[in-house]
Symmetry: C2
Subunit: 245 residues, 2 copies
């Protein structure tokens, strides 16, 4: 991420066997991209694809793609390529997309409402089964058939409804409290849109998406592109001490 943004890495506390669980984080980040490209190809009727073609469709180097797939345990056919449908199914299996995940969204301001209605989630196997907010003005509202409930009911719903992923879209000040509620109720995967760092116990995976951060990174590039043409250079200014005694 973002980056997306970058997420806290989960490190298995007691993983004895070397499994697919310890794939490099960088590889895991790319798997969803491969999957998306494979879906497109499949819909277009393509049956077989070379690493070169698939890599181009996902913006990576073909050697990296081959290495990624090789690490997964997937394999192609020399001189031929990869079977699109089989590879897609294989990657979906590694990502755990064979069974649908059950998602709760907490915080239904503009962003949370957009997330609740975003079709891309259900399309890719994520069922949004719970919406929660603390604002009485929003509780009770119906968003595309799902009722917004009081956040006080969150813990119970997590247990009763098998929710295993929590999406935090609250203001920053409320985010840590919500994260604590999620963790206490047994959720071990959190997607955080609030602009703050969450403290969670080991074994809980947190990924963070901060929309403003992405714009600031673009701003950096924008700024230093123009600087290349002018003369102002931050690095060559003499260093000013940034603390006083």
């Amino acid at each position: 991420m973002t980056t997306t943004g970058e997420g806290t890495d989960h490190r298995a506390p007691s993983g004895p066997s070397a499994t697919a669980a310890d794939l490099p984080a960088a590889t895991v980040r790319r798997l969803p991209e491969y999957l998306r490209a494979l879906s497109s190809l499949g819909e277009a009727g393509v049956e077989t694809v070379s690493s070169e073609t698939l890599a181009a469709a996902t913006g990576v180097n073909s050697a990296m793609l081959r290495k990624d797939l090789s690490q997964l345990g997937a394999s192609g056919m020399r001189g031929v390529g990869y079977n699109v449908a089989a590879l897609a199914a294989y990657i979906a299996g590694v990502l755990g997309l064979t069974k649908d995940s059950r998602v709760a969204i907490i915080g239904l301001g503009h962003l949370g409402q957009a997330l609740a209605r975003y079709p891309g989630f259900s399309e890719r196997g994520f069922d949004i089964v719970g919406l929660f907010d603390a604002d009485p003005g929003i509780i009770g509202k119906d968003l595309d058939g799902i009722l917004v409930r009081d956040v006080a009911l969150l813990a119970g719903a997590i247990r009763d409804e098998g929710i295993n992923i929590g999406v935090i879209a609250t203001p920053g000040a409320a985010a840590q409290h919500v994260a604590d509620l999620l963790v206490d109720a047994g959720v071990t995967s959190i997607l955080n849109f609030a602009p703050c760092v969450l403290a969670v116990p080991q074994g809980v995976a947190v990924r963070k998406v901060d929309l403003a951060v992405e714009l600031q990174i673009l701003s950096f590039h924008e700024h230093h592109k123009t600087i290349g043409r002018t003369n102002t250079d931050v690095k060559q200014q003499s260093r000013r001490p940034l603390a006083e005694t």
Copy 2:
């Protein structure tokens, strides 16, 4: 990244001088986080902060924070720490946040509308000055005081209104076309929420945020946590060829 999602790196086509423009990408990604933490501290009345404390607030190692700041040309005071206000101003300068950026959002479905209303953008110096869509049912709508215009007017608006960042929130099928419009009109920074890889000329910075990708990464961790307790292991299954002759 997060988002995070990962963005295409900009590589200056003809950068002669070694400036702040070629900071490591990893460092640039962290600067907005430092800035956010510094803002919090500043509002809390803190005047000076150690690398240890600031690192904890941003979830990084303190040595890395010091190295990042050192690369920027910012410096603290040994035995004291960094001056919060001065460091924040310095990082804002490096990120190019001293002058506000002018942003257009193209595609005003649920996500685009949420972005248009997201207060975090204007709070951090990004002025949303243009909203564009192709759907006549949305064109003409007023979103918090900004009119949604026909995307046919995009190129003219970019030139007349000094827009320098484009945010694409259209469906995937339209995204490349919109990107071409942006690039042709001179925009060199694009934030892409559509689930597809954009082709752009060198010198144009693209960052991609795919919300479903983040959930799929969480799904991976979720899946392999439970696998650790059961016996099914993808890696140890015998390799099946994924292409047929």
